[in-house]
């Protein structure tokens, strides 16, 4: 009793020789199909090299091309040769030249001997295969594909469109229900010979000759017709990327492959010397483990995810999403505070203490970047040079957020700052923006400048902030925004602060016990009135009372007494 190996090869013939000898040495007859595209002299050399091996035979050669009939014809010839030449074969295993047995061959033979009637072939109806690439699913079976997808793409596409336009459809031969699956199967002699010796075979072959990628559907469909017991999975470990191209295994995959307990792996890079050495000298202890490719699945799924989705918020030499193309423009949530530092004297320190985050000053101050602690460099070597920041303001934000992943960033912003990144931040769903509108007037109020200058300055700041608020309230803004007028905020500051700190959520949600110190607002109402009297109407701060506002700040909770 043995397992026949049908081996389709087209390249790396030195490895082919090695692997074929390995199978034969373990008692498995091998039928080699060498692609007709391989030069005759290379073929002759391989044949001569394996002439000493009675268990290794060469079958009729066909021209193989991806997605076309030649590959099926090749496997038919190889299978026929095996079944006709070696009587004791009970299963035939189809492998490629880049497949390598990952477990000792006798384990595979034993495994199959215990499952004498089972056909291992992945086979699913077209409706159930999400992994089919190229958009053609059911149409693979109902259109004709006489042109090569690789070489004659224009003709291929044209002919598909032409048939769709005319509504041309082929009838699927009676008794066949199209199924698809991995092309690497292992079939019993009964099933395989039934397929190959079916009186209808010429009819089926003629049909499949014009099906697209028939090697993924010919046996998969016909096995459903003849097999009594299909196990719909492939014994070959074979992973595909997002383009339908097989992943390749290298030396550094050795442990991963070993632990997968799969019988055969593909594709192995022909120069992966360590893998070939390890697996072709693999006698190993008896191992009853079932194949378990889950871990490898995860590795490759992650790789595909990185290629298709990437790391959000990262901008680098090979990831440069167009604006709006990627899910989030930054990598992590961050908070922007507008007006808070104007209203509270020690807001930065207070926020850093209460929220446990990194709190910067005005990152977009015109003269320099005010990093936390006024450092000249922060994470990643980002510098406080205003020129560098203004050279690429959006990149400045994304770099800062990326460099500090894991530590939430907060910074102050306002109408007196550079507005170059305002739009970017407003459109960023990771931004949490809190605005006390009109608070910019407080520093003006405290400053000792001529009233004419103040008036001019106030008009300018109000204009900028109005624009900002318009943007934040517009449909394109995706940031989480809270806007209070100064009057509103001063009315109940603790509630608002509590809300913000809770949302940052770094420390365990607790009641704020310490309030930041509010700037002295005595006479501020009058200041605003003076501006109004001068014809400049400050409207953003809401209705600010002329007399001093009553600010409600909590007192420290008194210490409880303990009575003994």
């Amino acid at each position: 009793m043995s397992v026949g190996i049908a081996m389709l090869v087209h390249t790396a013939l030195d490895r082919v020789e090695q692997v074929a000898r390995h199978w034969a040495a373990a008692g498995c007859p091998v039928a080699l199909h060498v692609d007709l595209n391989v030069p005759q002299d290379a073929y002759d050399r391989l044949e001569a090299a394996l002439a000493d091996q009675p268990m290794i035979r060469f079958c009729k050669r066909h021209r193989c091309e991806w997605g076309r009939w030649g590959i099926v014809a090749a496997s038919q010839s190889a299978s026929e040769l095996l079944l006709a030449t070696f009587d004791d074969i009970h299963h035939v295993y189809l492998v490629s030249g880049s497949c390598v047995p990952l477990r000792p061959v006798h384990e595979l033979v034993d495994y199959l001997a215990e499952r004498r009637r089972t056909d291992f072939i992945e086979s699913a109806t077209t409706a159930d295969v999400p992994w089919a690439k190229g958009g053609l699913q059911q149409e693979r079976f109902t259109l004709r594909f006489p042109f090569s997808w690789k070489r004659q793409r224009a003709l291929f596409d044209f002919y598909v469109r032409f048939q769709r336009r005319l509504g041309l459809k082929r009838t699927i031969p009676d008794g066949l229900v199209p199924h698809m699956g991995s092309q690497w199967w292992c079939l019993t002699r009964q099933t395989l010979s039934a397929i190959l010796q079916d009186p209808n075979r010429t009819r089926y072959d003629r049909y499949f000759r014009r099906v697209w990628i028939p090697d993924e559907s010919y046996y998969q469909t016909l096995a459903r017709r003849f097999s009594s017991n299909i196990e719909s999975r492939s014994l070959t470990l074979s992973k595909f990327d997002h383009q339908g191209k097989p992943h390749v295994f290298y030396d550094d995959h050795l442990q991963l492959l070993r632990r997968s307990h799969c019988f055969v792996g593909r594709k192995i890079w022909p120069h992966a010397n360590r893998l070939y050495a390890a697996f072709l000298n693999n006698t190993g202890a008896m191992n009853q483990a079932e194949p378990n490719p889950a871990k490898i699945d995860r590795v490759f799924a992650r790789a595909v995810e990185q290629r298709t989705r990437g790391r959000p918020g990262l901008y680098m030499q090979s990831r440069m999403p167009r604006p709006g193309a990627a899910n989030a423009p930054t990598s992590n949530p961050y908070s922007v505070f507008q007006g808070f530092a104007d209203l509270f004297c020690n807001f930065e320190d207070w926020l850093a203490r209460t929220s446990g985050t990194q709190v910067h000053g005005r990152l977009f101050a015109p003269d320099r970047v005010e990093f936390a602690g006024r450092a000249s460099l922060v994470n990643g070597g980002l510098s406080d040079s205003a020129a560098k920041r203004d050279y690429a303001p959006e990149t400045f934000v994304t770099s800062l957020i990326w460099n500090t992943r894991g530590e939430r960033q907060c910074f102050q912003y306002g109408p007196a700052d550079k507005q170059s990144a305002a739009g970017f931040i407003a459109r960023d769903p990771n931004a949490q923006i809190s605005v006390i509108a009109g608070a910019w007037a407080i520093p003006l109020f405290h400053s000792n400048r001529n009233f004419a200058d103040l008036r001019k300055r106030a008009a300018k700041l109000q204009k900028i902030e109005t624009e900002q608020l318009k943007l934040l309230r517009s449909g394109e803004a995706k940031a989480q925004t809270r806007i209070w007028s100064l009057a509103e905020f001063v009315d109940s500051p603790m509630e608002a602060l509590q809300e913000i700190v809770d949302e940052i959520g770094q420390t365990n949600s607790r009641i704020l016990t310490e309030a930041p110190t509010m700037a002295d607002l005595a006479g501020f109402g009058q200041f605003l009135q003076n501006l109004k009297n001068q014809g400049m109407h400050p409207h953003l701060m809401g209705d600010f009372p002329l007399d001093e506002p009553q600010v409600v700040l909590p007192k420290r909770p008194s210490k409880p007494y303990l009575v003994q």
Binding site: S318, M320, P321, L377, G381
Partner: protein, 328 residues
């Protein structure tokens, strides 16, 4: 664009007359060999490690343009069967900073090969470079129908003063210049040629804080499956036809990419900079070198508390400076 490409190709043919073959082993090049091209002057110190590094990666043949070295560079590369050398005394500057010469060699010898174009102080790092040879990468790129591979320059520097540690020929320069900036790079699209324009790192931070737009470009595309119709436009920053410059994904995914560790800041840096300044053969009338010398007089190096110490490619990958893409 086609015209521009043609003009470049014509120019490199014209400039090829400045090259004279010193050592021609190109007959030994086999059809699928990986070729490395480089232009240099007086690199006797760094060349021994350079050759070892790239031979270990699996480069099969080196094609060098020697821009009139007068140190022991020539002896180092003489009579080695995998090295071919051309000599020129012409101006580096008027040959478009060596690009014309390399374009000519690429066109003549590179067709159909994977070609790596690097300077003698650039060390190519790609995903899995510690376990997989360069050929694994080129095979994978070819199977994915990818023709060009990006690797940005990553400027490496020592801790403390540049001249604190002496670099011995043959030594791994990254033993001394082990540090780099991890997150202060800016990227802009070049609408004309489609490449990204990357700036930043220690040179921009130290020497161009006030005019960052003048900072040197760090984007490079050193590895290409060459065709005789291709041409580099400016150093290895960009290529024609433009499609080769699209080494980045624009929909959010990451293409695979590497870095070129740039061992520029060693103890011979000041000497090199002074020499280049007197030769006046570099970009922007050598603005860069003048800035270096001005700043380095006072002895402070680029190192700071946020510098990252180089460990391996995985670290660079995690920091987001390069990517595995879907290679696993």
């Amino acid at each position: 664009m086609r015209l521009r490409r043609r003009r470049r190709l014509f120019r490199c043919l014209r400039k090829s007359r400045e090259l004279s073959s010193v050592q021609d082993n190109t007959a030994a090049i086999r059809p699928d060999d990986i070729l490395l091209f480089s232009t240099f002057r007086n690199e006797g110190a760094r060349l021994p490690y350079f050759l070892k590094y790239y031979r270990d990666l699996g480069v099969d043949h080196f094609l060098f343009v020697d821009n009139d070295s007068d140190d022991d560079t020539r002896d180092l590369i003489a009579e080695q069967p995998d090295i071919s050398v051309w000599h020129t005394t012409s101006s580096y500057k008027t040959s478009n900073f060596g690009t014309d010469w390399v374009n000519y060699l690429l066109r003549t010898y590179g067709h159909g090969h994977w070609t790596l174009v690097v300077d003698p102080d650039e060390f190519f790092v790609y995903p899995f470079c510690d376990t997989r040879p360069l050929r694994a990468l080129t095979d994978w790129l070819a199977a994915s129908s990818v023709k060009s591979f990006g690797a940005m320059l990553l400027d490496m520097y020592p801790q403390g003063r540049l001249d604190a540690q002496h670099y011995e020929p043959g030594q791994n320069p990254m033993e001394i210049a082990a540090w780099f900036d991890s997150g202060n790079y800016t990227l802009k699209r070049n609408p004309e040629l489609g490449n990204l324009w990357i700036q930043g790192g220690p040179r921009s931070r130290m020497f161009f804080a006030d005019n960052p737009e003048k900072a040197p470009a760090l984007n490079k595309i050193p590895l290409v499956n060459w065709d005789r119709r291709y041409t580099y436009v400016s150093s290895t920053h960009m290529l024609l036809p433009r499609g080769l410059n699209l080494v980045y994904d624009e929909t959010g995914g990451e293409k695979a990419s590497g870095v070129l560790l740039h061992a520029k800041f060693l103890d011979n840096f000041s000497a090199k900079a002074s020499e280049e300044l007197t030769r006046k053969q570099h970009f922007y009338g050598s603005v860069e070198y003048r800035a270096y010398l001005d700043k380095l007089e006072d002895g402070a190096g680029p190192w700071n508390e946020w510098s990252e110490k180089y460990i391996n490619w995985r670290q660079i990958e995690i920091l987001g400076l390069m990517s595995k893409g879907n290679w696993a």
